[in-house]
């Protein structure tokens, strides 16, 4: 009952429920150490605050932050929604454009030679410097935040996707030629599939940076959103509100990250790079 691993993959049908149970046990033993670490850090934080009598305008205690999360819930929620929507829209838009441009690059070398340097150049400008420009152009609404969030996602996805679409072995291309496959068949049946692991590596990065993009956008010109709330709380020395806001932003980034990982696990059941 305990060990099915040594029977090997030959008796595949028999052990499905056992495998699931084992996976669940494994998941728990994987989650225990980080959970303990988090609890430890929170306890240490509380300990330092009480031990040294740190004033709450410098740093709140975990208890105060939780209290603020509850008492300020409506305020936090009101500011959370715009940030969440902006980062989500930016994530979708930035990655979509990146994927489409990557497809164009792989399809047509000339377009890559023409536009790749521009993409690199845009990427080298710090996002903090682009943000005011976009706010000047698009005003105080959602648009500049979505664009900033999208821009920050764009480049890693473009680079990875181009690499992924090209990561097809010459032998696989020979095989497709022997089968007289058309360019579009090769694209959909081979290139897209082999690019997926590369794409998801980039999407994981983008899932967290898109939230950063939205918040940076709100710092420059906005009176709603978690970014605006961070500025406001800082200027008013409301440290527990500041911490609560940061927690909300982090929670959203983790949610996006987990969603991406979940889709990735569903879509990629094979082992990239294991077989040629």
């Amino acid at each position: 009952m305990a060990s099915v691993s040594d029977t090997g993959p030959t008796d595949a049908a028999t052990t499905d429920t056992e495998r699931k149970a084992r996976a669940r046990r494994l998941a728990w033993s994987n989650r225990l150490p980080p959970a303990l670490a988090v609890v430890g850090i929170i306890l240490a934080w509380q300990g330092i605050i009480t031990l040294f009598g740190v004033p709450s305008y410098i740093s709140p205690s975990p208890g105060e932050v939780v209290a603020t999360l509850i008492s300020q819930a409506p305020n936090l929620w009101r500011n959370f929604v715009p940030t969440a929507l902006e980062s989500l829209a930016g994530f979708v838009l930035g990655n979509l454009v990146a994927v489409l441009i990557a497809v164009a690059f792989v399809h047509n070398r000339t377009s890559e030679r023409a536009f790749y340097p521009i993409a690199v150049f845009v990427n080298t400008i710090p996002i903090i410097a682009i943000a005011p420009i976009l706010v000047l152009i698009f005003g105080n609404g959602y648009t500049p935040k979505v664009i900033i969030s999208g821009l920050i996602c764009f480049f890693p996805t473009l680079v990875n996707m181009v690499r992924g679409l090209r990561a097809v072995s010459p032998q696989t291309l020979d095989l497709m030629r022997v089968l007289s496959a058309s360019k579009s068949e090769i694209f959909w049946k081979v290139r897209m599939q082999s690019a997926l692991p590369f794409l998801f590596a980039a999407l994981r990065i983008a899932s967290t940076t898109s939230v950063i993009g939205a918040i940076v956008g709100e710092w420059i010109g906005s009176n709603v959103g978690l970014g605006a709330l961070i500025i406001e709380a800082t200027y008013n020395f409301r440290s527990s509100l500041l911490y609560a806001t940061v927690l909300m932003a982090a929670a959203w980034a983790v949610t996006l990250f987990s969603a991406v990982s979940l889709v990735e696990r569903r879509l990629i059941t094979w082992k990239p790079g294991s077989v040629h």
């Binding site: 696989t172 020979d174 022997v178 082992k271």
Partner: protein, 269 residues
């Protein structure tokens, strides 16, 4: 020998020719001038025959096979497959290719890999004539592993999937480039026997490249020995061993004589 056979496939008197190579020359443009990979190769592969190709590394075995498969550009001479140009034969799925590594798509299960040729290249007439993927997996002894992903299969199993995939459109010619080169000897022996069985069951013409003298002699009705720099035909050796062959044939004196002859040819290449 058969190098003098007629270009036109004749009925009756001479055996029909599946692949005819006439005066083939292949050059590759390199940094330090052109490399002549093959020079004036002329050979006929009889329909339904199993011809193995042997030669020192770099002599152009792969290039010859790839030229037949329309994968490299020919610099001179002519190749015809079942009387058609190589491009025409390719579009008609007259031949299939098995590479040294299985070249399976890692995200597709074994059966979906076997099915791939039915999904691309859009020639409904050819595809209608195809076998069922399930039957082919059974033919190569993998009926139970249809849903396995390539990384869950051993190297030998992957190569069997590749062979099943090659056979699905019932090719009249099967081109194999060191298909068992990366396998251990026991697996290789087993697959050699299976290949002979499949060849007899399907009547497919097979051209099989190998580095191994025993493999070449065991499988081949004829062994095409190439010499290098530039690649050219050294000799076309006829292997007079009874069919169907069992692995034990390798212990007979006749077999050893053939192997010794091949070895001496290779040494003088």
């Amino acid at each position: 020998m058969s190098a003098t056979q007629a270009v036109e496939p004749l009925q009756g008197a001479t055996a029909e020719v599946a692949v005819s190579v006439r005066d083939l020359t292949v050059r590759f443009a390199g940094d330090a001038g052109d490399v002549t990979a093959l020079q004036n190769i002329t050979v006929d592969i009889p329909a339904g025959g199993l011809v193995t190709m042997l030669g020192p590394s770099g002599c152009g075995k792969s290039t010859l096979l790839r030229a037949i498969a329309d994968l490299v550009e020919v610099s001179g001479g002519e190749i015809s497959v079942l009387g058609k140009s190589t491009g025409e034969a390719r579009r008609n799925r007259d031949f299939a290719f098995v590479f040294q590594d299985a070249t399976l798509l890692p995200w597709r299960s074994a059966i979906d890999n076997v099915r791939l040729p039915l999904e691309v290249g859009g020639k409904s007439a050819v595809i209608k004539a195809a076998d069922r993927p399930e039957d082919l997996l059974e033919l190569v002894g993998l009926a139970g592993r249809a849903q396995a992903l390539p990384h869950e299969l051993s190297g030998g199993m992957r190569q069997r999937v590749a062979i099943a995939r090659a056979l699905i459109c019932r090719p009249r010619v099967l081109l194999m480039d060191e298909p068992f080169g990366a396998l251990d000897e026991i697996t290789r022996d087993k697959l050699n026997e299976e290949l002979l069985r499949i060849w007899q069951e399907t009547g497919t013409t097979i051209i099989f490249v190998t580095h191994s003298v025993p493999e070449a002699a065991f499988l081949g009705q004829q062994v095409l020995v190439l010499a290098s720099h530039p690649g050219r035909v050294r000799e076309l050796v006829t292997v007079d061993l009874p069919q169907p062959r069992k692995l034990s044939v390798r212990d007979t004196v006749d077999f050893m004589r053939v192997a010794a002859h091949l070895r001496s040819l290779l040494e003088s290449c």
